[in-house]
């Protein structure tokens, strides 16, 4: 029923016995108390608010068991700013008013952070397609595209 897992989140090791059925998203929110990772759907894994990076890749933490992340490195929104300094992508979101309620934002940032590493010079269409796994209800997406485009430009 329970299994001891060892998951490194934002550089901190969490070793804990948890039920096998515990979702990674719950491990992050409840065991590690990192509540920046949000839950927006029931079982379907469509909204993307729970997106984190596992070994540097954007994945939906609600579609993984915590057990699957045993031995892996997880980065959450709380790990994106380094030494208290916002990443260029985070700063661009602030500058371009790329968020309103902010509920979907952590998932979007974790997805786009990896996206820009894979594709540092994206077109607007590529950014839009890259965001398909993150639903946003407030912004109409336009300012998010502006922010990602600008973050890419700043990184060049």
């Amino acid at each position: 029923m329970n299994k001891t897992v060892k998951i490194t989140i934002n550089g901190e090791v969490f070793e804990q016995s948890v039920p096998v059925r515990m979702l990674l998203s719950d491990f992050i929110r409840e065991v590690a108390s990192l509540t920046g990772t949000h839950i927006g759907c029931t079982y379907e894994g469509v909204c993307g608010a729970c997106t984190v990076q596992v070994d540097g890749e954007a994945v939906k933490s609600c579609l993984m068991l915590a057990s699957q992340a045993d031995g892996h490195n997880v980065t959450t929104i709380e790990g994106l700013a380094k030494d208290g300094k916002l990443s260029p992508l985070q700063q661009a979101f602030n500058d371009h008013h790329a968020l309103q309620c902010g509920f979907c934002t952590p998932g979007i940032l974790m997805n786009m952070d990896e996206f820009l590493k894979v594709n540092p010079n994206p077109t607007d269409d590529e950014i839009r397609t890259g965001l398909v796994g993150n639903l946003c209800r407030c912004t109409g997406y336009a300012h998010i595209i502006d922010a990602v485009r600008d973050a890419a430009k700043r990184a060049r």
Binding site: M22, V46, F93, N94, G102, T129
Partner: protein, 799 residues
Amino acid sequence: MSTKPGANWVGAKFNRKEDHRLITGKGRYLADLSMPGALHLVFVRSEQAHAKIKKIEVSAAKALPGVVMVVTGEDIKTKIKPMPQPVVQPALAANYPKHWPLAVGKVKFHGEPIAAIVARDKYVAADAAELVRAEYEPLPYIGDPEKALADKSNRVHDEWPDNVIFQMTFTGGAEAEKNDAEVDRIFKSADVVVRQRFKTHRCGVTPMETRGALMSWDDSDGLTAYITTQRPHIDRLALSDILEIPAEKIRVIAPRDQGGGFGVKAPFYREPMLVAYLTRELKRPIRWVESRQEHLMAVSQERDQIHDIEVAASKDGKLLALRNRGVADCGDGCEGVYWGFLMPFLGCVELPNAYDWPIGDVKLKVAVTNKSALSPARAFGEFPTRFAMERVIDMVAKKCGMEPADFRRKNVVKHLPHTSITGEYFDSGDFVKVWDNLMNQVDLKGFRREQEAARKQGRYLGIGFGLGVELSGVASELLVPMESQPGYGAATVRIDPRAKVIVFEGDAPQGQGHETTVAQAVAASFGIHPNDIVVTTGDTGTTPFGSGTIGARAGSYFVSAAVMACTELKRKIARFMIHDLKVENATMDDFEFADGDIVFKKNSNIKKSFREMVERIIMAPINMPAGESGGLEHTAFFEAAKPMICFNADCAKVEIDINTGQFKILSWTTSEDVGQIINPQIVEGQMQGAVVQGLSNAMFEQFVYDENGQQLTADFENYKLATAADVPEIKVTHAPTPCPHTPLGSRGIGEGRPSSVPGTISNAICDALAPFGIEITELPLRPNQIWQKIQAAKKKAAD
């Protein structure tokens, strides 16, 4: 940005104050809050649409280790007062269905709560919910509103004589019989008459954060209730009435961060009632976090109206009369504040839109059915009526042989203030200016040439327009009769001894950026920096009473109240300046608050720093002007004498593939009158988001109930929202007229903004398909249906 003279903060680009915590994962939404020992509550929901409850077997659920309590409707119906309660009941004549948080006797829609589990662990609570077994005796499903209105034998609410929750004739004050006779006379003699039925499907707003509540009970303090809500002060009064707890023993707190609302967090719902009751019963904290499935089954459903519209016009294109018979499907209607019918009610009030109608006969009937009660959604009630109106305007223009754009300009209201044929008051603005600004952005003649050339190559381009007059806040004149609530905006402005300013707001934002907008307004007022201002919202323990974040109240009512409070405090500071510095013949207006200083305008050598004066008044209240006391805090209430509006116009260009009915939006341009802008990015963000929400509603989203009332669309695989790759970038332009009735000239914006979208996009599609003579009369705009219409037109042409 450096601290510039005060007034410049109004209208300045200024990065949102809310953002830092939200982009670093430090936002605190309902589900992120914790209380030691909190139990988890989950609802068991009806699997049937309409059925007598024979038995609900909960013993297996109760026996599961970790389960603390299981309750059904029978357990609570004598312990808690039923709805409706006066505080959440409109003053409009209607049937108000009696209900408890859990179904009693029978279930009335697929998804109605029938039992609740309280457990120590949320996984265990979910396990227990599966073990609850309900036995039902099925009743005929009532799913068609028109049939429901006609058939009295089969009723949603057994104690009612029929299925009519609300009906009304809207004449704008005219005597109905006379009015209708005059309308009949005009229709009989009019050159041009267009009749058409328009249907708008059930869809809504579905914020990314679902609903939830976290509450605790203390025998001396009473109930502390964190609720995802747009109107904490109303929730507090309603909880007090239902649980029969004195209101002073209830503190409702809307979490500082809420993940969108758009109306859906404005009603007083069943679920928080039950959480509150059980929290008091168990004297242990209880948490309920709604699942997306619950959310899509129980709330977030709006629109769902049918309108049979008739328009009479002269052959030179002047509107003469409007007739409308509206029917709305409000679901079971069991929902505090709105009761499922306030949306269609307001939709009909707003039906005439910006057009100058001489006369009209507008009637509405609202039916209850076995569906979830309609809950408010941005573009409240008017999304369907705007769709119908903007479409029928194009059809009338076509029949008059006029370009729809010219027809609109000809018939738009030219002189404000104006009272519409349904009695809606438009306070101020310049519709023609907004319209002309839009037409300057879109080259209509050039587009017509391009369209003609494209058609020769077998490509189908179209252009469409739409207008929207929207509420800028809701004046008491409208909100008292509509919702038994006051419309005024309230703000407490407290200056602390270190010259920081705290603003308290009773309304609860859900992403609109109140912290930034009001900080800019207050900074401008005191000549200090927005970062020196803190905004506290939504806590009934600390904030002044407010009816909630609804109807675009922030930019109109809340900001105005805050500015009024600042003005009062500035007067007091000025009185102290005059006294302390012995300034002769001066009033408040002689002092400029800028750059952190207060300067006597007639002699700039006479000045004090803002901080110095603040400390003097708060910390050293001696040697004061006659009759003064120390301290700097003021609560102001802003009320507009008459309702206020904002206005917008949209233009869309599309291209359609006639082989598939699939279409691409080539461009979307808007023209807005939002009055004086406070934060341009926030305004732009509201417009981008609103138009896209309108598009998502019009093109993708649809709640579907099958023939047995089973709801088939309770997840994001089946209830489709627009993704980033599905929508265009919106080009937002402005043609503002400052509102003369608010201190800053600002208008509240954003709430009604999606309403012009479905008509605009549909008009563009019909324009593209004009060679086929296609008229879109139903939403959603699915390629499937457009393709069918093209097929039918081709077949007709071939026959």
